[in-house]
Structure formats: structure tokens, C-alpha cells
């Protein structure tokens, strides 16, 4: 069995939390937006492109989670090349994962609801596109906060340093 330091193992949990929860939120959000978009396209073929745009919006949370997870895996030495993380940095890594994971979960779900609703509004009234995008982009901010804090934790928590 491969010997892994406790800190590295904790960072692995952090990486799992990061992509797991962010991916869950992103998936739920994308599912909602796509369900609304399919309904819209079923009635109006011209909605396909706009439906894709709104369905793709909640993808970003999974991307943030994926990036953070990759950074954790690389800098914790789990992918090779390093000495492994000390225990305290491993605990910080769980915080990193929770930061982007939970922020991504809430943000993805919120964005999915807003996007699904926007698709409904646009298919009813074409002029709603720009306003729909603005409203759907609002819940992105929570994921950005989570992502920023995750980066700050990695920088000042001794993971990227």
C-alpha cells in the first residue's frame, strides 16, 4: 500500500468535497435549466441556442470545484512530485474544499432555478433575453466568493506556498 501523509489524505478529502458538492450543485442547476430549455425548444425551435446558453451557465460551479480539486491534488503531492502536506495544511485543505464545494452547491442550484425561469420568460417574450441573463448571472457571485476564499486559503494556508 502507498504511504500517504495525514495532511495529504486530508487534502484528498478536501478535493473530494470541492468537486463533489460543487458538481452536485452544478448538476442540479444544469438539470433544472436544461429541463426548462427542453420544454421551450419543444414549442419553439429557435430557442435551442438560447436554451444551450442558459443550460451552460451553471457549469461554472463545477469548473471552480474541479480547478480547486486539481490544485489540491497537485500541491498536496498526491499526484506525485511532492513530499506531502503537513497535517495542519491538510485541515486547511478541507476548509478549501468546503469553501468552494458548498458555495458551488448553493450557487449552482440558485442559478439553475433562475436560468429555468429565464428560459420560460424568454420563450414567452423574446425581449427578456438580456434581463434573463443578468438575473441568471447573479447567483454566480456566491461561487466566486467561495472560489476566492478557497484560493486565499490555499495561498496563506501553506498549500500553494
Amino acid at each position: 500500500m502507498v504511504e500517504i501523509a495525514l495532511g495529504t489524505a486530508l487534502a484528498a478529502i478536501g478535493a473530494g468535497v470541492a468537486i463533489g458538492f460543487a458538481g452536485l450543485g452544478s448538476g442540479l442547476g444544469q438539470g433544472m435549466a436544461a429541463a426548462g430549455s427542453v420544454g421551450a425548444v419543444a414549442e419553439d425551435n429557435d430557442m435551442f441556442a438560447r436554451g444551450i446558453i442558459f443550460s451552460a451557465l451553471p457549469e461554472t460551479q463545477a469548473i471552480y470545484g474541479f480547478l480547486v480539486a486539481i490544485l489540491l491534488l497537485v500541491f498536496s503531492g498526491l499526484l506525485g512530485g511532492g513530499q506531502g502536506l503537513p497535517t495542519e495544511a491538510g485541515i486547511v485543505a478541507i476548509g478549501v474544499g468546503a469553501s468552494i464545494g458548498f458555495a458551488g452547491l448553493g450557487s449552482g442550484m440558485g442559478q439553475g432555478m433562475a436560468a429555468a425561469s429565464s428560459v420560460g420568460a424568454i420563450v414567452e417574450d423574446n425581449d427578456m433575453f438580456a434581463r434573463g441573463i443578468i438575473f441568471s448571472a447573479l447567483p454566480e457571485t456566491q461561487a466566486i466568493y467561495g472560489f476566492l476564499i478557497a484560493i486565499l486559503l490555499m495561498v496563506f494556508g501553506g498549500i500553494l506556498g
Binding site: 495525514l6 473530494g16 429541463a35 426548462g36 420544454g39 414549442e43 452547491l105 414567452e124
Partner: protein
């Protein structure tokens, strides 16, 4: 610090491995709690997303005020028909049927569509509503046979839709009202019609049969939406219940205008109303006249709409003003319900109500355009 953490772990009697397992378990528990809490609203919303988008797409294609004005400005019914042929929603049905029938078919198609796309939890009432074309067809058949129309003339009155679609031809071929009732044996309408048949045979009028059908339909509609366990179902129950109350009220008002007493009206009323419960309905049926019915409704949500048109009734003596006021109230109430749950049943109710109004308005316009020199301002007044 690492030493401190290691000391802390060992002081609580954990090895590094058990600490790791503890961390994983903690993450799993927190994750499970978060997922359970956050998934509940999603599960409520999810079934409505696709149907909402579909009905909103159709809602967006309903006529706006400008288009209705253009229709009102047309010179005759042929122009109305040509205008509608340029609208995709009506083009197909107008290619197949004359205007009035095409509008009935479009309405039946709308209810079929909503019954098809509605989420499972709220599907039943919409399925019942989609059978309204059955009720209309049976009524047309009864009336046709009562006045002695032949099979071809009868067929022209029927809406090619509903669960009786396959039997419409053979039903049109029957000769008497009793034959219609007998032919419908085995359908869900048989019991209601057979119960009212002796009354028809006694009076030789189809009114008891028609009223029995209405009562059966409204009863089924109300029962299909009971047990309002969540907000979507509560809204649906209000929507359906208001329709039942309004149907009861229209019947009572018209009956009182004709001077009928409680015993004559009671058999045709659906006792288990929504806001107007059995005791209230009994009070209303026992009222001596229409004015007392309106005052008896004080405290109910229907009072304002009817009180507002009381002066017009006093002036004209026509109960049509109350029927229009009740239709207007139903429309406004449906609109208010539609805005309550935008990621739920709201858009479905909004679309149904607005489409129903659109078809009613088109029928009003078509009827008015058939009459020479009917003033456009009068048509605008008549629109819902």
C-alpha cells in the same frame, strides 16, 4: 503546530487512521444533511420546469391587445377567419373546420395539451377538464336529437375530440334522445344520464340530462383536486373550486330569475361547493329573488363582483350582467393565482385561463361580425 495537532489527536485516543476515518464520516454526514435540506425545494420545482416552459411558450403566442383590436376592426367574419388563418395556432384547425367549430377544437386541443404535459401530481383535474369536450358533445347530441336533426347536421355540431371521439359517428346516427343515453351505456357518463332519464321522459325536455352532465363534470372536477397537500395543489383547488362555485351561482341566479324555488333548483346544484358550502347554497336557493342572492353573498369573495353590476341589473333586468361579472371575476382570480407560483402551477393556470378568454373573445368577435353594422365599440365592451 503539527505536533500540537498530533498531540490533540492522540490525547482523545485516536490514531491518525481513525482521525482520517472520523473526518471522512463527518464530511459524509454534513454532506448528507446539506443534500437533504437543499434537494427538497428542487424536488418540488423540478416536475414543473418543462411544462412551465411549454405553456409559457404558448402563452407568449396568445393575442395581445393590438391584435384583438385589429380583429375587432375587421369588416366581416370572413376577414376574421382570414386573419386567424395567418396565425399558426389557428391555421390548422381552420383548414379543417368552419370558424366556430375550429375555435371549439382549438379549445379542446388546449385542454388536451395541458392534460398531457401537466406534472403527475396535478394531472387529474386537467384530465377531467380535457373531457369537457365530451360533455359538450353529449349536450350537442341531446339537443340535436331533441329538435330532430339528421346524422349529418348532428355531426356538424360535434367537436372531434375527447374520449368519445371514436363513437361520435355512431352516436350521431342515433334517432332519439333515449337512444343516445342507451348508446352511452358503459361510459363514465351513463350513470348520471340514466338517473336523469325518467325526468326527461316525464318532461320531454333535455334540460335535466344536460344538468345531470354538468353536475357530474363539476363533481368529478372538484373531487379530482381535493386533498390540497402542498401549495401547488392548494392553488389548483382554489382554481377548480372557484369554477364550481361560479357554475353553481350562475345556475341559481338564472333559476331565480325564472322564478324557480328551492326544490326545483336543488337537484341541479353540486352541493359540495368550494367557498359556497352546502348550507350557503341552500340559503341562496331559498332566496326570494336575484337581489337577495347578491346580498346573501356578502362576506364571500364573489360579493364585490356581483354588487358592482347590481345597478346595471336593476336597469336592464338581465342576469347576463351577473354572468359576465362572474366570468370576469374568474378570469381575474385565475390571473392572481397564476402569479403565485411562477416555478410551479402558476404558468399552467395562467395559460389556460388566458387561452379560454382568447377563444371566448374570438367567438364574441365572430358572432358580432356576422351581424350587419354591429358597432366595434360595443364589441370591445363585450370582450372579457
Amino acid at each position: 503546530m503539527a505536533d500540537g495537532i498530533a498531540t490533540l489527536i492522540s490525547s482523545v485516543g485516536l490514531t491518525q487512521e481513525t482521525f482520517l476515518v472520523f473526518c471522512i464520516l463527518a464530511v459524509l454526514v454534513v454532506g448528507a444533511v446539506v443534500v437533504i435540506i437543499t434537494s427538497r425545494p428542487i424536488l418540488d420545482i423540478y416536475p414543473y420546469l418543462n411544462p412551465s416552459a411549454r405553456v409559457r411558450a404558448r402563452k407568449g403566442r396568445l393575442f395581445d391587445e393590438k391584435q384583438i383590436s385589429e380583429l375587432v376592426e375587421t369588416n366581416d367574419v370572413e376577414e376574421v377567419e382570414n386573419y386567424l388563418k395567418g396565425v399558426p395556432e389557428y391555421a390548422d384547425v381552420l383548414d379543417a373546420y368552419p370558424l366556430d367549430k375550429a375555435l371549439d377544437v382549438e379549445r379542446a386541443n388546449t385542454y388536451d395539451f395541458v392534460a398531457r404535459v401537466a406534472p403527475k401530481d396535478i394531472k387529474d383535474p386537467f384530465v377531467v377538464m380535457s373531457k369537457k369536450s365530451d360533455i359538450d358533445n353529449i349536450k350537442s347530441l341531446l339537443t340535436a336529437k331533441e329538435v330532430g336533426l339528421g346524422p349529418e347536421e348532428t355531426r356538424e355540431l360535434l367537436i372531434p375530440s375527447g374520449s368519445l371521439y371514436d363513437e361520435l359517428d355512431s352516436l350521431a346516427d342515433t334517432e332519439t334522445v333515449t337512444d343516445i343515453v342507451t348508446s352511452l351505456d358503459g361510459t363514465e357518463y351513463a350513470a348520471a344520464l340514466e338517473d336523469a332519464l325518467p325526468q326527461y321522459e316525464e318532461t320531454n325536455m333535455v334540460l335535466p340530462l344536460e344538468s345531470a352532465l354538468d353536475k357530474y363534470y363539476l363533481g368529478k372536477l372538484l373531487r379530482s383536486s381535493d386533498v390540497p397537500s402542498d401549495e401547488n395543489k392548494q392553488i389548483l383547488y382554489s382554481y377548480v373550486g372557484t369554477q364550481v362555485d361560479v357554475a353553481n351561482l350562475k345556475l341559481i341566479i338564472r333559476a331565480k330569475q325564472d322564478g324557480l324555488d328551492y326544490d326545483a333548483i336543488a337537484p341541479y346544484i353540486l352541493e359540495e361547493g368550494y367557498q359556497l358550502r352546502d348550507w350557503k347554497l341552500k340559503d341562496l336557493m331559498e332566496s326570494p329573488d336575484v337581489t337577495n342572492i347578491v346580498s346573501g353573498l356578502e362576506g364571500t369573495k364573489y360579493a364585490d363582483a356581483l354588487t358592482d353590476v347590481m345597478p346595471v341589473y336593476n336597469e336592464t333586468g338581465s342576469v347576463a350582467v351577473f354572468e359576465k361579472a362572474l366570468d370576469g371575476y374568474t378570469s381575474d382570480y385565475s390571473k392572481s393565482l397564476a402569479s403565485k407560483k411562477p416555478l410551479g402551477i402558476g404558468p399552467i393556470i395562467g395559460y389556460l385561463s388566458q387561452k379560454e378568454n382568447e377563444i371566448k373573445n374570438l367567438k364574441i368577435i365572430a358572432r358580432a361580425k356576422r351581424e350587419a353594422d354591429f358597432p366595434n365599440s360595443k364589441i370591445m365592451e363585450m370582450l372579457i
